[in-house]
Structures are given as C-alpha cells and as structure tokens.
C-alpha cells in the first residue's frame, strides 16, 4: 500500500550513460514533482506535472527530461550523465485545485555517477 514509490532505490552508473528513474503514486493525486537533494541536503524542485501537463520547469539542463504517461506516473530520464548529477532524486505528489495541500514524497533514488 505504498503511496509514492520510486525505482530503482539505488543507481550507480558511469559518466556519459543514459538512465531513467520511475515514479508511481496510488493516492489519486493530479500533480507530481521531481526534486533533487544534493550532498548538503538542499532540496530543489526540478519539474512538476499536473494531469500530464508540465507546469513547473526550473532551470534544469535539458539532459533531464520528465515524462508523464498518465497522472499516476512521472518518470525522469537523464541523458549523458555527469558527475554533478550525483544526488538523491525524490518524486512527490499532491492534490491540486483550491488548496493548500501537502506533498507526499517517495523514498528517493540515490544516483551515483562515477
């Protein structure tokens, strides 16, 4: 009965590779997010989708491409991985409309680029 799940939990890969992280929520939420948490624990929004439509796109390299096949899924594809991409990536979801609403986070995917 996991609310927001991410796969994989750990991802170790070499520079230049392409990788994807998957996220699924079973809360019936309309809005999903991707965050990046660096080694100093700073958590920064990357993208947000509402009903499969991109609504937030922060200053993120275009090597990062989110894809939302339906409102319960938001995947993150990263091309040409760089050392600086090493971080923990969190997916989150929330209700939308007249809020405010809290966000529900997944367990995170620790990406290590060597």
């Amino acid at each position: 009965d996991t609310a927001v799940s991410q796969t994989p939990k750990y991802l170790v890969t070499q520079m230049g590779n392409d990788k994807s992280i998957k996220c699924e929520q079973n809360l019936g939420h309309d809005t999903m997010y991707w965050y990046k948490q660096d080694s100093k624990k700073f958590l920064k929004i990357m993208f947000s989708y509402n009903n499969k439509e991109l609504i937030i796109n922060e200053t993120v390299p275009n090597r990062f491409s989110p894809k939302s096949p339906d409102k319960a899924h938001l995947n993150l594809h990263i091309n040409s991985l760089e050392l600086g991409d090493s971080a923990v990536y969190f997916c989150a979801s929330s209700r939308s409309g007249t809020g405010p609403y809290e966000q529900y986070f997944g367990p995170g995917t620790r990406l290590t680029v060597t």
């Binding site: 100093k40 624990k41 700073f42 809020g99």
Partner: protein, 109 residues
C-alpha cells in the same frame, strides 16, 4: 537559491527536552510547511500554516508564523528518540515548494 533558511543547522538534546528550530524566508508566501526526513528516507509532511495564521498545533508540534519578519518556528515538545531526523521548512507560492537546508535534530536517550 533556497527560499528558506533553517537555524540552527544542528541541534542535540536530551530525551524529554523541547527542541526549537527557526526558519527565515525572503519573499511572499501562500503558506509554509514543515517536513521531517529520517536518515535515508523521503520527506514526511508534519504541519502546514497559512499566511493568515499565526500559530498552529499538531500533537507535540507547535508552529508559529510571523509574516512581518518572514520567519517561522517549529517547537517539538517532550522529545523522543524517534524524533531524531532532519526538519525542513518549505515556503509555498504558486504551487511551488522552496525548501531550506534543514535542521538536523539528534535526541539522546
């Protein structure tokens, strides 16, 4: 840049004591939220306070908000070992949450 900044960065207290941490932010907000992150886990929502509210309680948690000073505080009363975690404030404006770097709280048994 980060919207919220928590103070202190780290806090160590004895079980049973109270823990207070502060958050300052820079711009207007719709609401402010506090989250907890246990080591190696995702964030868990604790409490939300709207911009027109000054104080809110939830169990052992008490949050204050002073929009004139652009600051908030989180008080955890009668701390327990299970409260050991990092605590983040997040300001919410236009559906976007902006997080601070967090306060790491260690509760000693």
């Amino acid at each position: 840049s980060q919207q919220g900044e928590e103070d202190p960065q780290a806090l160590s207290i004895q079980e049973g004591e109270n823990a207070t941490m502060n958050c300052s932010y820079k711009t207007s907000i719709n609401n402010l939220q506090w989250y907890r992150q246990n080591s190696g886990r995702g964030l868990v929502h604790l409490i939300l306070i709207r911009s027109n509210e000054r104080e809110k309680h939830s169990g052992r948690l008490r949050v204050t908000l002073d929009t004139s000073k652009k600051s908030s505080s989180l008080l955890i009363t009668a701390s327990r070992a299970a409260d050991t975690a990092s605590y983040f404030c997040a300001t919410n404006l236009d559906y976007k949450l902006s997080f601070g770097a967090g306060t790491t709280v260690t509760v000693r048994a």
